[in-house]
Symmetry: C5
Subunit: 102 residues, 5 copies
């Protein structure tokens, strides 16, 4: 899994039937700053993920990829490879807190 | 999943039997511009995807990868790892619209 | 899926039993030239793929990766993650033909 | 699989039900130093992994990705794509020991 | 699949039960030299693979990744995503032999 920030959303009227009603977010994967180890920074990539936990824009979330994205009650049988499975409260590296949700 | 622009197509007379009749598009994955956050730009990569929604060249589409590409009525049992599952109407980052289909 | 050029082959006497008799090719993934959009160029990577369509060296082929590489009659149950499922005749970007097999 | 160092942890109150009670670690994938071949160094990436073996921060662990992360008694049916399946005692390259746990 | 050189090994006393007795090797993925096309060179990456064919350090081997790594008699049901399924004897690019095992 990886951490990501929800940065936006999208609409797609024409889509696979099973995807009707699913919330799709634009997410930006994050990594721990390699040098300072004291903050999360963007990787510059862009993924589209299905929300399963009621997350919202601006939040940092936990993302699962691949076939395992189908292993939740909400996503069973969906043609998806990326799902939001948690909303992050805190991230700690060693003894230092590097992220805390508002 | 990720966003991509359909840029072309290909033909392959000699192929696995189950692929006969499938529409194959050349797609260019997109990402949100890392600096400006106000447009979609190319990643420079090239994927081949099966269409399941009647998409066309020039459109921005939603792509699913891996085993989940087989989780649509049209693609069940196909030897494919990449499918188009939606046609994008709008993309919004924060309060700004960064893409709108024509 | 992606496009690749078959550049060579390999031999491996000692191998998993189910792989005996399978044709293994060395393939070089290709992408559409990002700037000119008028040719296919190498990505510099090297994959090993099982042939299911009678392809030969020098040809440009369609490659499927992951579990879906097992979704052909020839590859069911094989321990493989990469298969050749088509031989490319033509590739077109917009209105321009950028590849044609000999 | 790959080697990684456990560098931190995170909390997520709001999450998929099946993930309640799972230990999530922040891990930093490692590689053998390409030039010297005598130490493990960071790849600069950040993954989130479920622990199945009682590992702790600072330890170097063995990580499995993808659907196989669900093939342990503890992780069956979880929506995860990354699990810790062993704690590394020693790593040897050729005749040289390049890592030993304390 | 890809080619890799076995460069070392590791020990892990504490691990998932099903992994007891499995041989784990450190492998370095290889690619064909992009310019000269006449040798195999390292990609600088490091993977951990389960051996299924009696391979040894220094050998160049064939590696399968993902769920397909479980499709051998030795690895069925193991939580692994990377297995050695063959020992390479020769690699040929066009008409030139670029690798031969000793």
């Amino acid at each position: 899994m990886f951490l990501a920030k929800i940065t936006g959303n999208l609409t797609a009227t024409q889509k696979v039937d099973s995807m009707v009603g699913q919330t799709l977010f634009i997410v930006e994967p994050l990594r721990v700053d390699e040098q300072s180890q004291d903050s999360l920074k963007s990787t510059g990539r862009t993924f589209i993920a299905v929300d399963t936990v009621g997350a919202g824009e601006g939040e940092v979330v936990l993302i699962v990829q691949g076939s395992s994205a189908r292993f939740t009650d909400e996503t069973k049988m969906l043609p998806i490879d990326c799902a939001i499975i948690g909303i992050i409260d805190t991230v700690q590296i060693g003894t230092k807190s590097i992220y805390r949700s508002n």
